[in-house]
Symmetry: C2
Subunit: 287 residues, 2 copies
């Protein structure tokens, strides 16, 4: 999907919602096991049907499928086929895979997620640098979503490191190479590898104070924002500092939508949760 | 597998060789497609039979299986079953998966690779910090192999960053938080999360000048060293600065072994390539 198509989809649906398909066989309503040989796919199918007019993107989290082995991978293939052929489509699809390896290996991951599974985008980890990310940028209308600042506690271990003295030194006209935090350097450096047409950044909505800064560093890139809901960030605070002329953001919610209900009514509960978010988004887009 | 069992295996086989199973359906001998419905597994089976007395570890690279979808995952499951039940076993098995995500997701990856596929170890990316790595450390006799300094060109983008002035500043008694390079901080910090009994580090053999330094930072941890052969580092140079009382290193070779031959004789060619390395290793272990 091209950037302008994604922006048009956001305007058309008045939504920048991504539904995270973190589908765990232990957490889905038990009655589904009696109704289908592939209850994980069946759950996804019903969640998609209940939310597809409200969401612009779906983001399966690979770990949840891999924990079931080749069977889980099969459920994911079925889910991707279903999304691709959905009459209410197209939607933007993100493999939350956090891959990246040396060049010849990243090439294979790109094939796995873009050619084999048909995703529009994949989340990638920047630690291995340019040659680990570039293979994901060589597929037409496909996207690499580079982790910058993640939403978890461990983001504080390395991503925000910076020297304690840069401001002092810069007063004396001395530039240190670490005048920026690591995640800021990642955003700055990785922009050289691609463009706003094939690269986005993951920046956790749990760090609203950093998002203004991120938007200044990457004014034209889409941002994928996980961490609202369960992890507590307020949608309006986030949107205020990150929305740009193309909309420019995708906000993900996983558990708060897909596990909103536990019984026979799980579809309508998921729809209610998605709709509450979409209505707020419509308002924010209208401002 | 426990650390002392791995060390004993290295002594017994006089080898610290890991064979990388980067098995690409486009690169394996074409005749295998006529002999088996699962030529990728068939190739792995024959490579394993040809090398298992010379190698202490096998390392399937996940991207190569994922590019084939659920079928590829199935080939990997068969390979793992074969390794587990091999009469010449046990061997140490490493999933080269470079995973890591927020805690509840890393938990699922740990299940996928340790419980579902039965690997002893998985390579993990440190960018997301402590809570993304710890779930891999909570499985008995299983290992997280943390990426520190990788063997590719992009390793220079972020892993070696450090401020330009720390030495100057330290002369004046001023400590900067970036007195170390990022990969050194990763090695230092992540040692707090686990122990030499459940954590190793990946340090590319393409940086022999850094390995002495790595060994000083982590005297008791096993190191997984990719990048000999194709990428050019000399085995004796590496071993000299990294071997410790437990042996403490696993050296990986993938393409140079598994693609040593292209025809009917690919097994004997692979064996020759593995044996050349094992003989050199036996000598280095004997010194």
């Amino acid at each position: 999907m091209k950037k302008e198509e994604l922006s048009a989809l956001i305007r058309q649906k008045a939504s920048f919602l991504c539904v995270g398909l973190d589908t765990d066989p232990g957490l889905i309503p038990p009655f589904l096991a009696g109704e289908s040989e592939d209850p994980v796919f069946e759950f996804n199918r019903r969640i998609i049907d209940a939310t597809i007019d409200l969401a612009v993107a779906y983001k399966p989290n690979m770990a949840f499928y891999e924990q079931m082995g080749s069977k889980g991978w099969k459920s994911l293939e079925r889910t991707m086929d279903y999304l691709r052929e959905h009459p209410a489509g197209p939607v933007f699809t993100i493999a939350d895979a956090k891959r990246a390896d040396i060049g010849n290996t990243s090439q294979r991951y790109a094939r796995a997620f873009f050619d084999q599974l048909g995703f529009d985008a994949i989340t990638v980890n920047p630690y291995l640098g340019h040659d680990s990310v570039k293979p994901f940028l060589e597929h037409e209308d496909k996207w690499a979503i580079v982790l910058a600042l993640t939403s978890n506690a461990g983001a504080m271990d390395f991503q925000i490191l910076q020297p304690q003295l840069p401001l002092l030194l810069e007063k004396f006209g001395i530039k240190t190479c670490f005048r920026k935090k690591l995640f800021e350097l990642v955003i700055e450096e990785s922009q050289k590898w691609g463009s706003p047409e094939n690269m986005m950044f993951v920046t956790g909505a749990t760090h609203p104070e950093q998002l203004k800064n991120v938007r200044e560093l990457a004014p034209d890139h889409f941002l994928l924002l996980p961490g609202i809901g369960a992890q507590g960030a307020k949608l309006s605070d986030i949107a205020r500092v990150t929305l740009n002329k193309d909309a420019g953001i995708i906000v993900n919610s996983s558990r708060a939508i897909i596990y909103a209900g536990e019984g026979q009514d799980f579809q309508s509960k998921a729809r209610e949760a998605a709709m509450a978010l979409q209505r707020e988004m419509a308002q924010l887009l209208g401002q």
